[in-house]
Symmetry: C2
Subunit: 245 residues, 2 copies
Amino acid sequence: MSDTIITAALLIIGDEILSGRTKDKNIGYIAEYMTNIGIDLKEVRVVPDEEDDIIAALNALRVRYTYVFTTGGIGPTHDDITADCVAKAFGVPIDVDQRAVSIMLERFKPEELNEARLRMARIPQGGELVHNSYNKVPGFRIANVIVMAGVPVIMQAMLDAVAPTLQTGVKLLSGSVRADMKEGDLGTPLREIAKAHPDTMIGSYPFWDEAGQPNTNLIVRSRDPQALETAMTAVKAMLAGLRTS
Amino acid sequence: MSDTIITAALLIIGDEILSGRTKDKNIGYIAEYMTNIGIDLKEVRVVPDEEDDIIAALNALRVRYTYVFTTGGIGPTHDDITADCVAKAFGVPIDVDQRAVSIMLERFKPEELNEARLRMARIPQGGELVHNSYNKVPGFRIANVIVMAGVPVIMQAMLDAVAPTLQTGVKLLSGSVRADMKEGDLGTPLREIAKAHPDTMIGSYPFWDEAGQPNTNLIVRSRDPQALETAMTAVKAMLAGLRTS
């Protein structure tokens, strides 16, 4: 455990998400996964299957965050252009990688490794394979960019494979309290508490409770357990005060 | 109906999405809604509740796309900073807007309009209110930026209110065919079809069918009904050919 803060961005590549045809299931999964292993997911972008857009997003994100995860666009068809875009973003050549071919031969017969499937073995020079326990076809990592499939079950297998190799930071801890109060009734005193506890992040999330009434969850987050506890105590005292006032 | 292409970006503002605590439900809804009204959603970004990040994203997106929709960060608490960020991005002042106060008085008693709730009536100068049939508290639009709530049911009410005022383009039409074939077995001929039909977009989406077998959906999209039909015919002929070969 170090006190370094490790950050990540997620780049989702796919026309089908932007058209609404496919509903994304990866953002929430990866966000929760990152929080649990002590990496701060700081940004998500969804871009279409267009080379310029993918390369621009890759280059913007990879210089800014510790890691960039991509999902989508690494299948066998013409609309799968992620690996080529990553190679262009890094300015390195890309070709069929014999390590990937060997792994794919554990699943496919040699005659099945046609031109389309061999596209899935194209890895930018310098890339390391990311194991896929689900159906073999690997993802890859080059520098701080980790390239994964878009299909959730395969993405999840790749994330499990790559996670132990990542640098992680101090996990962000959190505490939550249900206010049993409307957000607008606690906003002013909550602001004071947030101001008085700058080493925490305090979020306020409205919801409708089981009685159909507007209610609020307050979430305090911090890397420092003591700071978290102090702020939680202050939030609870505020709520108790508001309830009796 | 014009042949103009109208584009949009979606900016989701919220730590809770990036931490994984809240699972986003707005991307898929808005993506499908845009497709249905003839607006191309070209990019989505999720950013934290941090002023610099929000302003940078707003300024990057609003010059690039016809419209920018934002969700989140317009509630009554200290972490709701979207309206202020929009004002800063446009370089205009922001203050409590009497039109918004009047509307909120339809729901709240005057004594309920405390400092926190009045924050929800802060609208950047030049902004137009976006009606919220769900619980009155309005969103707003300034230039090409439309600011909506993050709570899905409220966002949806605001989208319904603003949609009739938007410029829309020629709707992207689509056709789909289930290949009953693995993606890797059709990738090569599909690439040829995609190349031969440049006025269409052809996507290939693997899935597992009801028998648990890898299968593929092929989706053809175009603004030109004739081009769509011609490409769909070519795709179906390719599949028939592959099945009998």
